[in-house]
Amino acid sequence: MKPVIALTKGRLEKQFLKFFEGLGYDVEALLKKGRKLQIETREFSFFFAKGVDVTTYVENGIADIGVVGGDILIEHQPDVFNLFPLPFGHCRMALAMKQDYQWPDQKKRIASTFTNITKSYFKEKGESVDIIKLEGSVELAPILGLADAIVDIVETGTTLKENGLVIEDEFLSFSARLIANRSSLKIKRDQLVPVIERFKEGARNV
């Protein structure tokens, strides 16, 4: 059976394809996939999913390996082999708020998609906060008065700037990572290791 690779849809997908092509693999079928979520090539079975779902598919052995953002791995802590960083998808985690905003005297309200990362960040600072879980467009929360600040991933900082937010602190940096199912890596070693080694070599040479 061909190795099954789960890929994160969207921004990481494009960067992965460029990286993958650079390793000498044929990416034509992947580029022409249209809205299909599953693609078979001569060597691999690919499927595309949201980052957090990639970890779920890999954890449950549906995919042997997966490409996912490091932010997702820290937030959700899936039970997978978290092998190594890939040379794309670089971003960092930031605490941001409205320019010249004064922190309130009472407990702060922080909006984030990354509630676990936010919790650990403030725990390390020794501060109790109320965390408001949002699924997207987190920048709106301080603007509309739902929260005092946000914790979110930042790639270039443009979205924050355009929404009148400034970075108060940056505390983690990530890139895309290669993950593997704990059993597949062992029992499909002969098929997976050559691919993993090629990824590793490619990541090293960038």
Binding site: G61, V80, F81, N82, L83, F84, P85, A180, N181, S183, S184, L185, K186, I187, K188, R189
Partner: protein, 374 residues
């Protein structure tokens, strides 16, 4: 009425396979002279969270008892069994158990396990007997497509022993090795000023595969008697398994303990078709230190729910129906007793005749009741 997440009812093949798996386990272990033991489902949390057992309280189902102490639903068999058999006479060495463990951090809150523990016995004997019991059991439930993996906690421990790490870094390093996370291993080792350890640990992450790995590492560690002794030990177990007909044995020399009480050989069984883990276990001598005992202890536990999913359904015996009435039910019952090999159903009214191989009815003839084929 609804069920909480992680709980489920069982019917059909899943429950019949699981009960059969349990019954076969009882027979296999009884035949190999294991004594059965059971521990209560409710225990003090301390049995599992103490410094030696080291389990995480967060994932346990827990509450305060009337005296303010934390009680839990049994989250793990090994620590519970150690508590129970530490007080038994040392001549009793081989124990088997079956029952559920309960955890929040697994897909299913309740997981049925069947396992063995061998204590106070010769170390190699205990490991060999554990593995061979596992092989015999898998054969008996007709699961033949599996891979056994061997690892050893002593390899990582011996490699880092000459170096100094603070407790947090060591824990983080252990986790990074467990996740085969090469960049973090490099970072932790580098920042702790032990850069000469980077290369050996990165190589160890990739030291998994067939037994050829052992030959490679025997050469690499030629000047490390402690490590080559471990390799010889693992190789002896592979020889034993291969001589007993197990064709797929792999090693992971970079495997580290995921529970603090593991202390030596570690083993795990993977089912080949979907990679699920069907058993795991290993040596845990240090668990007995909390009872002031220096002894040998090794064991393994099967995931019975996982086995039940992979077992072929049992061949159905012939199924017979006897149509009776309140007046003739006793006659039908007598007839049923004579049918030892078949499944015999008694009905007052035939609802679905396609489910039966044969249908009988009780009829009255000359003031006598008799059972005749319909």
């Amino acid at each position: 009425m609804f069920l909480p997440a992680g709980s489920q009812d069982e019917t059909g093949i899943q429950i019949s396979n699981r009960l059969r798996a349990s019954e076969i386990f009882r027979r296999v272990t009884q035949k190999r002279d294991f004594q059965q033991i059971s521990t209560p489902v409710v225990e003090y949390a301390h049995t599992f969270t103490n410094e030696v057992a080291g389990m995480d309280l967060h994932s346990m189902l827990k509450w305060f008892n009337g005296e303010g102490e934390i009680e839990v639903l049994r989250p793990d068999w090994t620590a519970a069994i150690a508590r129970a058999i530490a007080g038994q006479h040392p001549s009793k060495q081989k124990w088997s158990y079956q029952g559920s463990v309960f955890r929040f951090d697994k897909e299913d809150t309740e997981n049925r396990q069947a396992g063995i523990e061998i204590v106070h016995a010769d170390r190699f004997f205990g490991e060999a007997e554990s593995l061979l019991t596992a092989v015999t059991y898998l054969n008996n439930i007709n699961i033949h497509s599996y891979v056994i993996e061997l690892g050893h906690t002593g390899i990582f421990d011996a490699l880092i022993a000459p170096f100094t790490f603070n407790k947090d870094d060591e824990e983080e390093l252990l986790k990074a090795m467990h996740d085969k996370r090469s960049d973090l291993v490099e970072e932790i080792v580098g920042k702790s000023g032990n850069s000469e350890l980077v290369k050996p640990l990165l190589a160890l992450i990739d030291a998994y595969g067939s037994r050829d790995i052992i030959d490679q590492y025997r050469k690499r560690w030629a000047d490390r008697e402690d490590l080559t002794e471990i390799l010889t030990h693992i190789e002896k177990l592979i020889d034993l398994l291969e001589a007993s007909g197990v064709t797929e044995v792999i090693v992971d020399l970079g495997r580290v303990k995921n529970l603090p009480y593991y202390d030596g050989i570690m083993f795990r069984g993977f089912l080949t078709n979907d990679g699920s883990t069907c058993f795991s276990g290993g040596r845990y001598d240090r668990l007995y230190q909390q009872f002031e005992q220096t002894t040998s202890a090794v064991g393994l536990a099967f995931d019975v729910d996982e086995l039940a999913k992979h077992m072929e359904p049992e061949q159905e015996p012939e199924k017979i129906c006897i149509i009776a009435s309140p007046e003739t039910h006793a006659i039908a019952e007598k007839f049923r007793m004579e049918m030892e090999e078949q499944v015999v159903d008694i009905q007052y009214e035939l609802k679905n005749q396609t489910t039966y191989h044969q249908i009988f009815q009780v009829v009255e003839e000359n003031s006598q009741y008799k059972v005749v084929e319909k």
